[in-house]
Each structure stands twice: as C-alpha cells, then as structure tokens.
C-alpha cells in the first residue's frame, strides 16, 4: 500500500466540557474510498473540519498530503460541507468555475471543466440557470461538482447523499466511483449504510467522538455473526442443539398475515464457519416445514446498530 494521503494521530477537540472528538487515530491510503460513519453528533463533521484546518485540534497531529495544514495543500483538496449552500444569484457554470479558480485553476480551464462536468452528470441544460431556480437536490449536485472541478487528489464529502432522490443518489455513487477509478482519494460521511456498503473499501465508525471501528467492509461484517432467518409453523427448538448455532430468537413478524397463519419468524446466529446447509437438513429430517429459509450476512446497518445503537439512542434522549 502506498503512503497514506491522510493521517490523524490522537486528535482531540473539546468545546468547553464537551469532547467532540476524542483521541482519534486514522490512516487513509491513496486512491481508496473511505466512509465516515456515525450517528448524528458523533463528531464526523468536527473531524472533517479539523482535517481541512478550518478549526484546529486541541491535541494531536494531522498530516494531509504530507503537510501539517490542509491550507498548505488546499488546491489539492476538494470539500463538500455538510450544510450545503451556494450563491443564489450566480449561474450554475459560473459558480463551479468560481470555486475552481479559487483552487488555482485558470479562468478558461475552470470554465471549460465546469461545462464538461455539467454535461457528464446530466445538468447541461441548467448551465446558464441561476442557482435559486434549481431544486435543492440539483443545487446539491452542482455543489458536489464545484468541489471536484479542480481535480483534487483528496475529496472530502460530508453527507453527500442527504436530500438526493434515488436516481441522483446513483449518479453520485457513479461519480465517486469515477473519482476512485481516476486515482483520487474520496472520504465521505454518511449515515445511510447502503451507500457505504456499496462504495467504501474502508470504514471509520465513530460515536460520541470515539472511534469504535476502523477497517475494511468485510471486517465490519465479521463483527456480527452470520444469521439464518427461518419462517415456520413448526417447533424448531431442536435446532438449538446443532453444532455451529449460537443463538435462536423469535423475531416480531414483518407483517400481520404471517402471524395469522401461525407462521413465526426465527433468527439464528451461526458461527462464521458453520454450514447453513446443516440447519436446512436438520429441519427436513425433523419434519419442520419451512416457508422461508434465508441465509444472510449481517448488513452494515446491523453492524452500525450493534456498535452504536444503544449509545445513540441514549444520546438522543439526553
């Protein structure tokens, strides 16, 4: 693996008594797509602002593209903040071009690039419109384009998917893939796990300012045991005895009809190396007729809830 694009060492930020970011360590390799996950108020945005040197950490070191401050290499970084906004009166192409020139591009190159990006991501017809005439989602797409027009080596997108419809979410996913394919490093924060699951090579999960997970997506999946979902009218308690089955729990039905038929839903957690075929065979041999047999890997969503769910809920009620 090449030298990291971004390194955080013991970074801490406090606001009075409140610790927004607590002792975060991080190293992001070049060319990767890196997901920052965490519940609301976990410290994602604060971390990102510190990476960009908009605010300074109280303790710890940050190294961005080999420099102590992102301001020294600001022309090589692209940033989409969490709260989006653009100059309302400006034209779409002009605003993309303006931000690119602020990042060191020449005026003509920036203008050219703006039109090229608008064409590629389906906004060509709006190039001459003013920002205030766009819908919120379109404005957000424009802002994403504005943050990458100068072809930065490191792109930091804070909640890029929020507020976009499914079609545009896909466009944005494609854009992130394009960037990655181009060798650009992308960091994005989100709390929509599907995007992280599809896009990220590595994840950082923080809650209440502390890092709770940092690793690849498959490593994340391994945190929660694999599970088998069964639906049946029969008695499946004997399954418990099987080797490789860790636990059996009844799940509330997903809709009313199942219960009316007497069908109950069960969730079995199994060991990593267990063979689900064995469970199916056991049911068959014991005359338990299954209306559903579902062997799934735990989703990132489950991992997320597993790791931060309790704290996040408590946090919300505080």
């Amino acid at each position: 693996m090449s030298t990291p694009v971004l390194t955080l060492e013991n970074v801490t930020k406090r606001y009075g008594d409140f610790t927004a970011v607590d002792q975060i360590n991080l190293s992001i390799p070049q060319g990767s797509v890196y997901g920052f996950l965490g519940p609301n108020g976990a410290g994602k945005t604060t971390t990102i602002r510190m990476i960009l040197d908009i605010i300074r950490p109280d303790t710890g070191h940050i190294d961005v593209l080999g420099h102590r401050s992102a301001m020294d290499v600001r022309h090589r970084i692209g940033y989409l903040p969490e709260e989006k906004g653009l100059y309302k009166k400006m034209k779409v192409w002009a605003i993309i071009s303006y931000f690119a020139t602020l990042k060191g591009m020449s005026r003509s190159a920036a203008r050219h690039k703006a039109f090229e990006l608008l064409e590629r991501y389906g906004l060509k017809d709006f190039a001459e419109s003013s920002i205030e005439s766009l819908s919120k989602g379109m404005g957000q797409k424009v802002q994403v384009l504005a943050s990458i027009a100068h072809e930065p080596e490191l792109v930091i997108l804070d909640e890029p998917f929020s507020g976009l419809d499914p079609v545009n979410q896909e466009v944005l996913e494609q854009l992130i893939k394009d960037l990655s394919a181009n060798g650009q490093t992308v960091i994005f924060s989100t709390h929509i796990m599907q995007h992280a699951e599809r896009l990220c090579q590595r994840l950082l999960l923080i809650t209440q300012g502390r890092k709770v997970f940092d690793g690849t997506v498959s490593e994340a999946h391994a945190i929660i045991p694999r599970r088998v979902v069964l639906e049946t009218r029969g008695d499946i308690h004997s399954v418990r005895a099987l080797d490789g089955v860790l636990s059996v729990q009844e799940q509330p039905p997903e809709d009313g009809s199942a219960r009316a038929n007497g069908i109950r839903q069960w969730e079995l957690y199994v060991k990593e190396q267990a063979d689900p075929q064995q469970i199916l065979q056991h049911c068959f041999e014991n005359g338990v007729s299954l209306s559903r047999f579902d062997f799934t890997q735990a989703s990132l969503h489950d991992v997320f809830v597993h790791l931060v769910g309790k704290e996040a809920r408590e946090h919300n009620f505080r």
Partner: protein, 530 residues
Amino acid sequence: MRVTLLIAWREFMENVKTKGFWIGVLLVPIVFFLIFHISSRLATATPTRYFMLIDQSGEYGGAVATAISREHQRQVMQEFMRYLQANRVDMGGAPPPQAPANQLDQLLDDFGNDEVSALDDWLSNGGLDMALQMARPYLREDAPPFTPPRRQFIAIDPPADLDTSAPPQTIVEYMRPYLNGERRLQHDGTAVPLFALILVPANVAGDVVRPDSLERLMLSDGTPSGVQYWAANLTDTRLPNAIQASLNNTIRQQEFTAQGIDIQAVRDIQRTRLPLSRLDPGKQLGEAEVSMADTFRQWAPMGFVYLIFISLMQSVQYLLSNTIEEKSNRIIEVLLASVTPGELMMGKLLGIGATGITTILAWITSFFVFLQLYQTVETAAIVQILDVLLSSDLIPYFVFYYLCCYALYAGIFLAIGSLCNTLKEAQSLIMPLIMILIVPVLTMSFVAQDPNGTMARVMSWIPLFTPFTMMNRAAAQPPMVDVVGTTIVLVLTTIAVLWLSGRIFRQGILRTGQPPRIVEVWRMLRRRRV
C-alpha cells in the same frame, strides 16, 4: 493576492448585477435632473391667475393695481437678469468697462442687494426696453432674443349682476361659489376660474394702523379689518405680499405728505447704503474679494461629507448582506476550505469598495453628461463652480478620507456581519454604529460655520468622526497639527480596527446560533486561533 482579487472581482460583479446597485446609480442623477428640470419649469409653468378688484373706497384701488403691475415687472426683471448673466460677453480680466457697462453692473449689483429699490430704478429708467437697449452691446453675438414672461395675474371684471357697492359681507357671499371654483367667470369669451377677490371696503381708511393705535388692534373683535384678500389658495403668497407692500407704500407716502416731509428725500435716504465686502485673508490684496465660487468652495466640503456618508451607507448594505448570505447559506465553509479568512475579508473589502467607488464615479459622470446635454444659465454657474472645485485641493482630501472612512467602518461592519446569521440580528447590532455615523452629519453645518472651533477640533480627533469632520474642515485651512495628527490617529485606528475585525471575522464566520454577548466578543478579540 490572486485569491483576494478573485473574491473581490466576484463580489464586485455580483453587486453590480443587482437591481439595488442600478437603482442607486441611476436614482441620484434622475432625482437631480428631475428636481432641476421641474424647479426651473415650475417657475414659468404657474397658470395665469385671474383676480377681481372691487374698490369701494375709491382711494386704494390704484395702489393694488400698481402692486400687481409691479409684481409683473419684478418677474420681467428677474428673467432679464438671468438672461443677462447667461448671454453676457465674457469680460474676463479685461480693463474696467466704460460707463454703460458700469451702469449694467450697477443694475446687477442693485438687484442682488436691494430688489425693491432696483425695481423702482428699473421702472423709472424705462423698464425692459431701456434695459435691453443698454445691455445690447454687451450681449454675446449668438444670444437668443429675450422673451419677457407672460403676465401671471390678470384683472377681471365683476359679473354684471353684482352690485359692487353692496356691503362687503354681501359681495363675499355672492362671490363665494366663484372663489371655491364651483362657478367660473367670463373673460375674453372663455370661462376662467377666479383666483382671488380683493375687496377694499369704503371705510378702509379708518383701519390704518399707526404705532399709537396698537391697543385698538389688540381689542379687535374678529371681523376682518383693512383690505380683504379672499382666495381658496393661500399658499401662493406673491399676490397678497405684493398688494400689502404696495398698500403700505401708498399709506406711508400719504403720511409723509400729511406731515410735510419730502417724499423724494425719504426715498433717497432709504436707498443710501454702505457696501460690505467679504474678504478672504488667504488671498492677495485685490483678489481677496470673496466671489460666489469662493463661497461655494467653503461649503463644498459639506457636499463631500454627504457623498462619503451616502456611499458608506450603500456599502454597509452590501457588506452585511453578502457576509450574511455566505454565512446563512453555509457557503462560508467551502470558501474557508479554499481561502484564508484574511483573504476572504480583504477580498470583500476590495470588491465592495470598488462597488462604492463605481457608484460615485457613475454619479459624477452622469453629472457631467447632464451638464453637457443641458446647458442653461444655472448649469453655466455649476460649470464655473466645478472648475473652481477641480482646481482646489479638496479632491485629494476627499479621496483620502473616503478610503479611510470606508476601511474603518467596513472593518467594523464586516465583523458584525460575521457574527450574525440574519440581517435582522445584524440590524440590531449596527444600530449604535448608525447613531454614531449620524453625529457628523448632524453637526456638519455647525462645523462648516466654525471650521476651526473647539467642537470641530475635538471631533476631528475622534477617529470615527475624523474622516467626516476633517473633510468638512478641509477648505478652511485647518492647523497643520490637526491635519497631520488626526491623519496619523485615523490611519493607526483603521489598521487596528481591520486587524481586530479580522480576528472576530475568523471566529465569528463559523459561528452558528445567537449573536455573541459582549464578553464573548471580548474573548474573541484576545484569542489568537480558533
């Protein structure tokens, strides 16, 4: 620096594109033009007024008629004076002119000093015809012929069925519908509205007020005494004033005669005067006489103070609204990932400063264009004044104080803008500053009257007032210690304010929520980094 200029350019272009900017740029010349145009047209556009004179005394009617013809002559003379000033051959530094020109000068001088006696002279010398003849050699060759103004007050006969010898009460009752505009009178075959009824009752001589009859005046029972002037429009005072003056003149002449005093002697005494020359000690003997242009030069600084004030108010709007737009739309975060807060602040200061200067230049340009397109007597005077102004040292003062004033206040306003999320919040915070800004405007005329007085000097040393007050004093040769000293204080203060504002701006710009309390602002000023 490149980034600062980029930001400045964007600020400038975006401001220039707004409607508000164009309204600001165009409104001033348009208003100026309209005021000028309308006021010069209005004088001649007053409709012809028809009045009716009923003289029951048989004694004072002549005085009233004289008053009205006098009023007309006054108009003619005024017009003629204007015509003369506009079309006169430029004498420049030519040697003292010969007798008739002297006479002409005397006429102009008399007119300026004592209108009434000038009017008498004017009439006794043959009026307009005589004046035209006298002035002819001194008019420019391309001078247009003089057209005297038309009569504004025309006498009209009473209706045939009115008994003019009836008691005043009855006549007024009869004429009331005419005076109210409900009925019209016939004049030369057309129906015209009656503007005024002048009624001289038969026993009017008994109403003459003498110094010893003041008591009787106080015991007045409320019934009108003396000559009665009835008109629905009481705001046009030219006619009643003229009548009053003429009546008094007649009465006094009668009194003189009654007491055996020579009227001509009285007249001559009344016209005796000792001239007062206003002189400027800063000039060589001989040039020391204060001309109109000099007087103007004394007052011109006030115009510049206004200009600074208006332009500053406009810039304040831009500074606040643009900063708050960036803050409330959260554009600021993207910007701060690309530029330093210092660059952002400087860019804004430059861009909006350029907007303000553009506005002023646009005003000045439109003013010159207006003068080119619209050459009349009044504008000729303005051109002369402008020449004086441009050749004086006021312009460099203005440029310097404008820039300092802008930098000083803009720094403060930017810091305030950075602390607020909405214009509403900002408005409550800038209120005290606006109050401070109003002080130099309010005291402007006092300072202009006594430019080196205590108040002016004290205010000059308060940095927030320095640009205004010193600009105001600029034409009065303030002491060197004031000029240099206040300039040093002003520049140092401006630098300090910009530096401190930069600190507040850096920290305030990322703040959300309520504007901070004073204590927090103090903490911001002392903190070095975010």
